[in-house]
Subunit: 239 residues, 2 copies
Amino acid sequence: MTPAAPSDGTGPQLRADAARNRARILAAARAAFRERGTAAPLDEIARRAGVNIATLYRRFPDGEALIRQVVIDGYTVLLHAAQTAVRQTPDGALPAIERWLLGLVAEREMLVLPLIGGPVVNDAEALAIQRELGALLDELLATARDQGAIRPDVTAADLTTTVALACRPLPHLDAATGQVLAERHVRVFLDGLRPGPDPSSPLPPGPTLDEVLARVYAAGPTPTPTPTPTPTPDSKTQR
Amino acid sequence: MTPAAPSDGTGPQLRADAARNRARILAAARAAFRERGTAAPLDEIARRAGVNIATLYRRFPDGEALIRQVVIDGYTVLLHAAQTAVRQTPDGALPAIERWLLGLVAEREMLVLPLIGGPVVNDAEALAIQRELGALLDELLATARDQGAIRPDVTAADLTTTVALACRPLPHLDAATGQVLAERHVRVFLDGLRPGPDPSSPLPPGPTLDEVLARVYAAGPTPTPTPTPTPTPDSKTQR
DNA sequence: CACTAACCGCAGGATATCCTTCACTTATTC
DNA sequence: GAATAAGTGAAGGATATCCTGCGGTTAGTG
């Protein structure tokens, strides 16, 4: 790879030193976010990155910018993996999809998708990546359908949903165990993708990926700040 | 239901008033935790519950106790649903499992399972619930296997993993959309449970549920506070 | 209908995190 | 090897959240 960070074009060419630390910070942030969530203190991230806190603030204007970059990097991983999948379909589209999903699960520790409590990352860059990803997945799915290798009611949104669900950390579980469990889950899911010879019930109607993207909160992380008219369901147990 | 909260037996019989507010607080906490994660301020939870902050602290010694109770309640929902499933298997064990999973997904907004950044809830009560749940699921799975209705390599841990993955909120998505996506995902997963007539690859070996429970972090939420010897992988894009 | 548990409103100290600033040192680049 | 971008260490103000305490009020309970 090139010394600096060649990406969105606006790069003012970081010095080797700076690029290295930037990468370290992002790696530490990924780990911290997966373990402690968005609440992970920036001090701790800097410490884990072996970098002074001032350096972190030099690279990222504030904590939100750091989170945003981590999420964007996550989307980028999905996209690149999908591009590879589209290119390598000698044995059919479904196997390519399977490799895509299992590959992502395998490197899930590297992945941080949108976090609960984190900022909404739906700027132009994020949307562009997601839309391109959607197009690639649609392409793969269409091919798989034509090959009769997949049930016809599965959509690109279903695949991204699976990534989102299976690649987030399982709280309080070590990485290795979470890894194994997630992979087993995904493998069962993948088997469910095959066209059912038996009367497997069709999926209920769902939104397209574009619709999902459109429904992501435009404002802050507080969608329905309902002052609580909730009649309160019951909850058992005593303290 | 009875006026107070009849559960673990240690209940000093809350007044009707108190029990009501307690339930409201827990409901508000569930909603807040699903939206903002563990970082949800207690003030906000109290406000959303239509209750003064002092009342919250009267019911729960501190924030952790509140989180713990919410999680325990979540486990309890799983357990009760499983008990119902075991009782109602006229059409076989697999359909009962399917109803169990789909039912949980349907009421996922009511469910809060362990949260990233939250305390580790693995006290005696939680473990007892989880073990009983595991026993019930093992029973259902064994029956389903005997009936030849399910692939033989699926374990109770796979089922709880699926609940954990599918019932957590999809960040930044409204409840309804998350609901639909989660249900579609689970339906595909369920179809993957059927015994494959075709050469569906067997699942890689995985831990039993007891092993998973044993591996839950005993200490705090910081398992590997590695000061970061990580050689830092690369990350693209520029700020 | 009296008793009192429970709730409310509010004030305030403790702590943690965020983010900035600055003088000084180190490492990279040309 | 000189110019300078980048990093270090440390101090400190601004918030936000946690949690406690107390007098006054409300509302179940028997």
